[in-house]
């Protein structure tokens, strides 16, 4: 066995996987995460960090160019797979692994790629992605295209200069009335720990969101392949997944990992009801952590008056910490009765109260927050990826 083969084998053993979820393919994404963890692989947080790109759900015409762009940012050796149902996960990941191990294939892939990424992407199928990005006028060729994790939109100086083809940032008054550069950055739709299909176009000063606009990008056929995958306990698992996201964004890796494992246990269990004590234990652990409480207290509080004025659901009352605890309560409650009705998924456990249009809510929620707290605030809303279908078709 040559050195190259040895290095290749060792390298693939700890492959980093960028998992992107198309709207309605929550169950598939969760299965991918479970297999990735079981194989000793690691979820990646950015394309630069990834060897594998796993797309959960077939991307539709709007999503495909974005996926293509993210794919272009993987450094390589790289492989990708599209998985549309939980049953396909293991074979698809197996094929991706084989592609990653295939030296000759990787050489051929690398040969044709430019090292310097392409900026002039205005015409690479992006024109049709109409989610608000285009109204910043000539500022924004540089900033949406990498979908989510992009480079290339900040600089200073003269508007006529375009280093690397990127227009420069323009200034605007900040909160203190001082002139400050404004960056236009799109969060999503292909961002880890982010609601699938959501795009939030933000204007940032420093890292403070001064204006935002939200939109959904649909995938192929929302959730069509997944409906048979709903089981008793799914609603609880969705809550746990959202809880894990908040914990991960709050930087508490140990608790987030516990929540993810519990989510997988609930999904795989014959009788999810038996796992209630585990959820209670996680809840106590989270409640006891003073550091977490101190860190999440007072983050984007929503009081009763604001709820009433905007007709937001009652479950959003309080700050991020309150909402985290209430999501844990809902997780536990949804397992209290072994629910058989599919309707229970999006009704009682998820978005209680009047249906809200998330694209209207989010800009109001994140206004004036920095990116970190904006992410926490959005995650704490406990949006329902399964109930999302109704919202999108409003």
């Amino acid at each position: 066995m040559g050195l190259t083969t040895w290095i290749t084998r060792r390298a693939v053993r700890s492959a980093h996987v960028l998992i992107v979820e198309m709207p309605g393919h929550w169950t598939t994404r969760v299965h991918v995460e479970r297999v990735v963890r079981a194989w000793g692989w690691h979820p990646a947080v950015a394309p630069a960090d990834a060897d594998l790109l796993i797309v959960c759900g077939a991307p539709g015409p709007q999503m495909a160019p974005l996926v293509e762009r993210v794919w272009g940012q993987l450094p390589g050796p790289r492989a990708q797979a599209t998985v549309t149902a939980p049953a396909e996960v293991i074979p698809a990941l197996g094929r991706a692994q084989a592609a990653l191990l295939d030296q000759r294939g990787q050489w051929e892939d690398a040969r044709d790629r430019a090292i310097e990424p392409d900026v002039e992407h205005g015409d690479t199928g992006h024109g049709d992605v109409d989610h608000g990005e285009m109204d910043h006028g000539d500022m924004d060729h540089g900033d949406m295209d990498h979908g989510d994790m992009d480079h290339g939109d900040m600089d200073h100086g003269d508007m006529d200069m375009k280093p690397g083809g990127i227009p420069l940032a323009e200034g605007s008054e900040d909160r203190d009335g001082l002139e400050m550069d404004v960056l236009h950055v799109s969060l999503g739709p292909l961002l880890p720990h982010w609601p699938a299909g959501l795009v939030l176009d933000c204007s940032l000063q420093g890292d403070v969101v001064v204006a935002a606009k939200a939109a959904w990008i649909l995938g192929d056929v929302v959730g069509a392949h997944e409906s048979d995958a709903y089981r008793p306990g799914t609603a609880g698992a969705v809550r746990l997944d959202n809880v894990a996201t908040v914990l991960a964004l709050a930087g508490w890796v140990a608790a987030a990992t516990s929540a993810w494992r519990l989510r997988d246990d609930v999904l795989g269990a014959q009788d999810p009801h038996a796992l209630r004590p585990e959820i209670e234990r996680l809840r106590r652990r989270v409640a006891r952590n003073r550091l977490l409480r101190w860190s999440l207290r007072r983050v984007r509080p929503i009081d009763a008056a604001e709820l009433a004025e905007r007709t937001w659901p009652r479950m959003w009352e309080g700050d991020v910490h309150d909402r985290l605890m209430s999501a844990l309560d809902r997780a536990s409650a949804s397992l209290a009765t072994s629910e058989r009705r599919r309707g229970a998924l999006d009704g009682s456990a998820g978005m209680a109260g009047p249906a809200v249009d998330v694209t209207e809510v989010l800009p109001q929620v994140v206004h004036g927050l920095d990116v970190a707290t904006a992410r926490l605030a959005i995650a704490s809303l406990d949006l329902d990826p399964l109930g999302m279908t109704q919202i999108q078709h409003v």
Binding site: G40, A48, M149, G152, G206, G251
Partner: protein
């Protein structure tokens, strides 16, 4: 140089120092892999081999660059972390020997840890990426919270030993280790080490909410060097705690140099173990704690130490 009790060895011995630093880094990486694998339910052996696998993976990966990247500064930032760590351990006496016996060794260490401010910022800046830039902002905001408490924590042993020479500080702990009567300074110091290594709760600059922040665009050998640099800083910080708070090379049976290594490894393992156990210190909130809690606490510690030092002399 100074009249301290340590012997300055030839420059060639710096290699030995680097090898020891490398071994500490390896130990930390292996244990971190084990701890991580255990938490996520993967196999322990796989976890222990993770540094090897990650190394192979990153060496196999292609280096990438971004549009209009400031490549020189970007790569200087990442590689600088390793150099900084090496310069830090130059003033740590290994039992009776030291590579660099500066009169102001403590100030030297402090200067090195301030260098990390620039290096982290440059790494975030250089990629010309919004997420990297935000990561850079975050690190600087966090640094405002941790740096002053860290500086005043380093002052406590210096006052007690009446010297800024690291060897003299170690020798001054003949009877009782400084950690015993300067616990606050010790804890604040460890917090500072974790913070300048962008470690555990002090890693919002590398947060998953901003796609890896400062490291968002790093790949291949650039990422390997950057990650190695963080581990090396952590190891160097742990090693520097030994002469400052843990009695240097003093201990029964084993030779002095071995005691230094054992103590450094112990401190390092505590830092590795604590990595995932706490939520992140969000910069805006942490500055409050740094200035309203840690700074006064460590100043009181300094005052007590000063009173004892004056009273004792």
């Amino acid at each position: 140089m100074s009249d301290s009790s340590v012997v300055t060895v030839g420059a060639g011995w710096a290699l030995v120092g680097l090898v020891l630093l490398g071994l500490l880094v390896l130990l930390a990486a292996v244990v971190d892999g084990l701890v991580g694998a255990r938490a996520s339910g993967a196999s322990a052996l796989g976890g222990a081999m993770r540094p090897l696998d990650e190394g192979a993976r990153l060496l196999r990966q292609r280096r990438r660059t971004t549009v209009a990247a400031d490549s020189l500064l970007w790569r200087l930032g990442g590689g600088g972390l390793l150099v900084t760590a090496a310069l830090m351990i130059a003033v740590v006496p290994l039992g009776d020997w030291t590579i660099l016996d500066l009169d102001v060794g403590i100030v030297w260490f402090n200067a090195m840890d301030v260098l990390v401010w620039a290096l982290l910022w440059l790494t975030g800046w250089g990629a010309n990426s919004a997420h990297g830039l935000i990561g850079g902002y975050r690190f600087l905001a966090l640094a405002l919270g941790y740096e002053l408490p860290l500086m005043f924590a380093l002052v406590a042993p210096a006052i007690a030993a009446e010297s800024l020479n690291v060897g003299t500080v170690a020798a001054a702990q003949d009877g009782v280790w400084f950690v015993v009567w300067m616990p606050i300074a010790f804890v604040v110091y460890l917090m500072g080490v974790a913070a300048f290594s962008v470690w555990g709760p002090f890693a919002p600059a590398l947060g998953s909410d901003i796609a890896g922040g400062v490291a968002a665009e790093l790949s291949s050998v650039d990422r390997l060097v950057f990650e190695g640099g963080r581990y090396a800083l952590l190891a160097a910080g742990a090693a520097f705690a030994v002469p400052m708070f843990l009695g240097g090379g003093s201990g029964p049976l084993l030779p002095g140099w071995l005691w230094v290594v054992v103590k450094a490894a112990t401190v390092l393992l505590v830092l590795v173990w604590g990595r995932r156990r706490l939520p992140a210190a969000r910069p805006d909130v942490f500055v409050e704690v740094g200035w309203l809690v840690l700074l006064p606490a460590v100043l009181v510690q300094d005052l007590l130490v000063a009173v004892v030092a004056v009273w004792g002399s």
